[in-house]
């Protein structure tokens, strides 16, 4: 009797349900770069500003007003200081996210990996979430984690004189801001990565967006201060004033910046929805 007429024998999958599929993607994407010694050195270099800030903090505490004069704004442990510190990390954010994130979707599209992922119990949403977490984790590595370390260090150095601000308020503000900024950056990088298949192409556009728009806005700022609006990072930073409760230093309102950045994110989601197809149809 032919095999196909023998009737079906069911095989129940014995595997216990492990972690959700998006975690499998995120875990692999997070652990893979850590195997590179050069990348680890880069991550350590990204911690240097935090170490310097911590050192100056200790120095200023020991030296009193003299110390503050010597270290300038580095010893600022108010909300403004932390907001500023996160902004100064942008160069490391650009380098680390370019290395980690530019090939996340472009690579899968190039190698046809989307078909492998999406023929499994995994939705496009899971896929994007898993990939997005990779970007978010490395953004946190160079911004949130060092900032939180400074908070703890600052509290210890000042022997608690900063009170709940340093122990609770600033960490919560920093976490919320980093979640906001990290999500926007992550979605935007994924969208750019989904638009191409070449890592170089994605990297160039990403660096242009992060650093190029800022440089252009700096140049034209003197012509028209409103042109700050073209700076992607400035808009994120400006929206951050809402989280830290601080005053903006540019003409654009933080809420306007928040709206612009939200629009960026919605655009990125639309691009991802359109571009992430398991099968590329060549007409």
């Amino acid at each position: 009797m032919p095999v196909y007429q023998r009737g079906y024998r069911n095989w129940e999958q014995s595997a216990k349900r492990g972690a959700p599929p998006w975690w499998a993607i995120a875990r692999k994407g997070i652990s893979s770069p850590l195997g590179s010694r050069r990348f680890m050195l880069l991550l350590m270099a990204a911690l240097v500003p935090a170490v310097v800030k911590g050192g100056f903090l200790w120095f200023a505490w020991k030296m009193g007003d003299m110390g503050n004069l010597l270290t300038g704004g580095w010893t600022d442990i108010t909300a403004v200081g932390f907001h500023h510190f996160l902004n100064t990390q942008i160069l490391f954010v650009a380098i680390v996210t370019t290395l980690v994130g530019s090939d996340l979707i472009a690579g899968d599209k190039r190698e046809g990996g989307l078909a492998l992922y999406l023929s499994r119990p995994l939705s496009v949403r899971d896929y994007i979430f898993g990939k997005g977490l990779i970007n978010l984790f490395y953004y946190f590595m160079v911004t949130l984690f060092p900032a939180l370390a400074i908070c703890i260090f600052g509290y210890l150095v000042t022997r608690g004189s900063t009170g709940m601000d340093m122990l609770l308020l600033i960490p919560v503000q920093t976490i919320l801001y980093c979640l906001f900024a990290g999500t926007v950056l992550s979605l935007t990088l994924l969208a750019i990565s989904a638009m191409g298949t070449r890592k170089v192409f994605v990297s160039l556009w990403w660096v242009l967006l992060l650093l190029g728009t800022e440089a252009i806005s700096q140049v034209f700022f003197f012509i028209n201060p409103w042109l700050k609006v073209i700076s992607f990072t400035e808009m994120i930073h400006n929206a951050g004033h809402i989280f830290y409760g601080t005053e903006t230093t540019i003409l654009i309102s933080p809420y306007a910046s928040l709206a612009i950045v939200t629009a960026w994110s919605v655009g990125a989601i639309l691009v991802l929805r359109k571009k992430i197809q398991p099968v590329v149809v060549v007409s």
């Binding site: 032919p2 095999v3 196909y4 007429q5 023998r6 009737g7 079906y8 024998r9 069911n10 095989w11 999958q13 014995s14 595997a15 216990k16 349900r17 492990g18 972690a19 599929p21 975690w23 499998a24 993607i25 875990r27 692999k28 893979s32 690579g107 190698e111 046809g112 990996g113 078909a115 492998l116 992922y117 999406l118 023929s119 499994r120 119990p121 995994l122 939705s123 197809q277 398991p278 099968v279 149809v281 007409s283």
Partner: protein
Amino acid sequence: MSAILKTERVSKWFGEVIAVNDCTLNAGPGVTGLLGLNGAGKTTLFKMLAGLINPSQGEILLFDRKLRRDSEVFRKVGFCPESDALFDWLTGYEFLVLMLRLMGFSGDELEQACLDALATVGLTDAADKRIGSYSKGMRQKIKMAQALAHNPDVILLDEPLNGMDPVSRRDIVKLIEQLGQQGKCVIVSSHILPEIETMTRNIILIHNGKLLAEGDVTEIREAIDDHPTVVAISSTDNRKLASILAAKELVAGVEVDQNDVIIRTDHAAAFYKDLPDWLVESGLEVKSIRTLDDSLQAVFEYLTGDHYGHQ
């Protein structure tokens, strides 16, 4: 036959191009071959079966559950894509670990499933090498391994023998046969008909987006009315037999070679019905009767209008 994978009047179009047109088929336990020329719609149909693209119309059901709307049913599916859908920077083992984690495997079971899959396709020794360094045949094997590792009920293999050396090819054919014998629903896509013949006689033929036929190759032959057939008959006097048969209306052509009379007919069913009477009338002793083109290739060529090399 109990159908595991069903399509119900499935169509898929891209703009004005209809890739798959009103296709209804059932695939049950065992190996089923999906055959079609390039551009026939075979790949589109296959990708719809794998849940990678949604049909424009109709439904695809796996265990009576809608495929795309229920991502959980993908736990029961193993898909081996045609393209080199691999991550060259991972080792074979790491690749399988990632694929199995997506399926919900973890811990010891994950490791065991990886090792079993690698052993099944004969890649245990190459498990720790990067996929980028694999040969074409090894890449095909690791793709097979990821399709089988989670012990799926339905296995979709798109051109699985591409680029394999003869020994690997034999091993994989054997493996596919075994999977079918275990009762798994294995669908193998290929454009090389003899390749499919080595694995199964249960085929689905597709051409220009339309399903031409589904079932056993001989059943398909029987289902075709008035199809051209080439028959070789060996008798004690082939020239006499040729002259007798040439006079028959049902015979379209006769040739005599060293051992046989080669007869071509366009009405196979009627020909086979009358042939015994003609042979008795001839008074000749018949040594053998063989159908020369009872292969998938012949069926396919007839069905697609390319019989005897003519469109």
